[in-house]
């Protein structure tokens, strides 16, 4: 198929429900805990069964980004010869995911537009959306994601990453990383009140790394969108152009560049790298650690600026940039805006994340501000369509979001 025909086909696919590989449907305690471990989270709300049961949620809860285990969010349609790298994502969360929830996802392509990048010249950005629902039909979260589709052969010549080697750590560096792991703070059951938060407050910091192949394998394995043996061979049969053939004539898929040195090299990267989704999850981990069990992570936006390779260490530092009261379906929500910078061991900014947290407040009669909505409860319907995370009606202590 010629490229113009392919683009016309992709336009016709906009807003059409996509056929997806079935990942997880049932949120089990094991899969929730395993996801937490795969992002290095020690937050007991998401990783300790008995602790979760004792919270107001009444159950072990899933990390908000656990939903990638239901649908990976990899909406890369067509353009088989183009590799894909996720560059942006926006999560909006409406409900908790609890043990026993049965989840579904509706994934759609929203657009395909041309783009030129320094990394790989001319390519495309595909935007997709996934709506996650629970067994009651209630929307649990919405994910909008952008993938850069690029031509690997051009990336191989232009990519600044093609000669990248693993960083060699000094004893001091390793000790600093270990100290940071030990120092990781988890707010837990102690409520973080909106009134006690001010712009400029530190959200704390966490470290993730030095990145090992196991860190990446665990995460991608937990997501569960891998094609194995027969599925892979069938897929290649249906999409022969999607296969990448190495020098030995051996086939694989671009997406496995996160674990395969040769594939990474074929995409212009000297080393395999962290999954993009994994990196959003690290930021989510920092923010959920900070906000405590009684708050709701309402939104998480991620912009990825540089790859994180095997051997890299990422330091995530967060700061409160704003607080406001937002109205959602006639109910006031006490929102805190957080910015998280992610830097590698060289101090390079590798990603920027923005989060909106709905905190508990001394001002409201209801406590906590957003409940998990078991079936017997009147469901929370989410914000009006197109209103984003909530309509800001009041704002205070505003600082530049950067």
């Amino acid at each position: 198929m010629r490229l113009d025909e392919e683009l016309a086909r992709l336009n016709r696919l906009v807003d059409v429900p996509l056929r997806r590989k079935k990942q997880h449907e049932l949120a089990t305690a094991d899969s929730i805990i395993a996801y937490a471990r795969a992002i290095g989270s020690r937050n007991p709300l998401y990783s300790q069964y008995a602790y979760g049961q004792g919270t107001f949620i009444g159950s072990l809860a899933a990390h908000p980004t656990y939903l990638v285990c239901v649908d990976s969010g990899a909406i890369t349609v067509g353009l088989s010869e183009f590799a894909a790298a996720q560059v942006k994502s926006t999560w909006t969360f409406m409900r908790y995911v609890r043990v026993g929830d049965r989840l579904s996802a509706d994934a759609r392509l929203k657009s395909t537009r041309p783009v030129t990048t320094a990394f790989a010249g001319a390519g495309y950005v595909q935007t997709g959306e996934v709506v996650f629902r629970n067994q009651h039909g209630f929307e649990v979260a919405d994910l909008t994601v952008e993938h850069l589709r690029f031509q690997p052969e051009i990336a191989r010549s232009l990519s600044p990453y093609r000669d990248r080697k693993r960083h060699r750590y000094s004893t001091d560096e390793i000790e600093a990383i270990m100290a940071a792991y030990e120092a990781e703070e988890i707010r837990g059951e102690d409520p973080r009140y909106w009134e006690n938060v001010s712009a400029g407050d530190s959200v704390g910091s966490i470290v993730r790394g030095p990145l090992t192949s196991e860190d990446v394998s665990l995460y991608v394995g937990a997501v569960g969108d891998t094609l194995f043996f027969r599925e892979f061979v069938d897929f290649m049969d249906r999409h022969p152009r999607a296969a990448v053939w190495d020098d030995d004539g051996f086939p694989d898929l671009w997406q496995n560049a996160v674990i395969n040195v040769e594939l990474a090299s074929a995409c212009g990267f000297g080393l395999p790298m962290a999954s993009s989704r994994q990196r959003s999850a690290w930021a989510e981990n920092l923010v959920t650690n900070w906000m405590g069990d009684l708050a709701l992570l309402r939104q998480l936006r991620t912009k990825l600026l540089r790859q994180v390779f095997y051997g890299d260490t990422v330091w995530l530092d967060g700061v409160v940039v704003d607080k406001s009261i937002v109205e959602c379906e006639g109910v006031s929500k006490y929102a805190v805006a957080v910015k998280v910078d992610a830097r590698n061991q060289f101090g390079e900014l590798v990603a920027v994340h923005y989060a909106e947290v709905w905190c508990v407040s001394h001002c409201v009669e209801t406590f906590p501000p957003v409940l998990a909505f078991p079936p017997a409860f009147e469901p929370f319907r989410g914000p009006p369509k197109g209103s984003g995370p909530g309509r800001h009606v009041k704002s205070s202590n505003r600082t530049s979001p950067g």
């Binding site: 049932l26 750590y169 665990l218």
Partner: protein, 390 residues
Amino acid sequence: MGSDPVNALVISDAEIDRIKDRIGAWYKSGPQYLSVNQDDIRLYVESTSDSNPLYVDERYARETRFGGLIAPNTFLSLIAHYTATQIGGFPGAHSFHAGNRLEFYRSVRPGDVISPSYRPYIVEEKSGSFAGRMILVDMEILYRNQRDELVGKAHGHVFRLSRESARGNGKYRSVRRSKFTSEDLDRIKAAYAAEKVRGDVPRFWEDVQIGDTLAPIVRGPLRLAEVALRSWHGGGRLVGAGGAVLGAHYYQFEEYQKRSSFAEADDRTGVADNPHRGHWEDDFARKIGVPGAYDIAVQRTAWLASLLTNWAGDAGWMKTIWANFVRFNVTGDTTWAEAEVVGKEVRGREHHVELDVWTTNQRSERSTIGGGVVVLPSRERDFTVPGGNF
């Protein structure tokens, strides 16, 4: 035996005696699962490419003698890996899963809670061309369900050996990754398409003859993804090393701090890393004397089990399977699982068929040798078939 100083260091006589002292003592590994569920069964089945609807199609399964979905018998490996690495000891020595023998008494179905317990069974000194002095450690593991019924029993044995010796001996030095051609791929595609699941058509004991061969099934080409991302459990707990996986980031640091001799540092970063990463890193596999990243042995057991259960049909029951892993199955390899009927006998009301099983790679080398016992219904006599226990 003791002439290799590196080997002597990690496989010392004192350490052998220390581990021998543990023989017979039972340990609880606790259930990895709070309960078995349908998602995990499906993910397991996908990762082994088993296409029997008994494991994934509720409507189909309801009409079988099981009355509902069951897990493949080898699903037990997910609950507790039947390798003897849990036994520990020999700090700094590598573990290679050399074989296993599994017996299955009851089926596992969604909602079951399985609790494994294990004990060291054999600790024995061996030597081989791969790494010189080695210790064979065999572990017995029992799987009980929430009613305290014995569901299955496994023996797994590993060789503990020096990584340096394995690399130095260079047994696999001449093995090169095969060129893969479109004809290879066509052959694999055809084999997948031809794979037959007997399903609800009973295979009667009387219709089986000694010398019958089973149509081979294929599993391959093996890619890193199939080993590294073998998300048998949705959470990927058994990714890679199969049970030895620790968790990401902090969890690895924590473990390596507790067990510094377990870790094997990455030469490039200087950072402690998982010693089992030869399963998902080609260069580390080569460092320990294997030509490339290699499969997890229980995967091959699962493929052989699929061959037997496909053939037996749902009215039958794979009672026993054993396998010795005689060659590495490395990325790029394609594995053909095969079997032949070698015996028939009646034990009480059970009608047994004994089979030799083996796997062959694309170089026509046998990579696994083993056997199995399948219980079939009888057309002519009173019979019983295990497994349908609810």
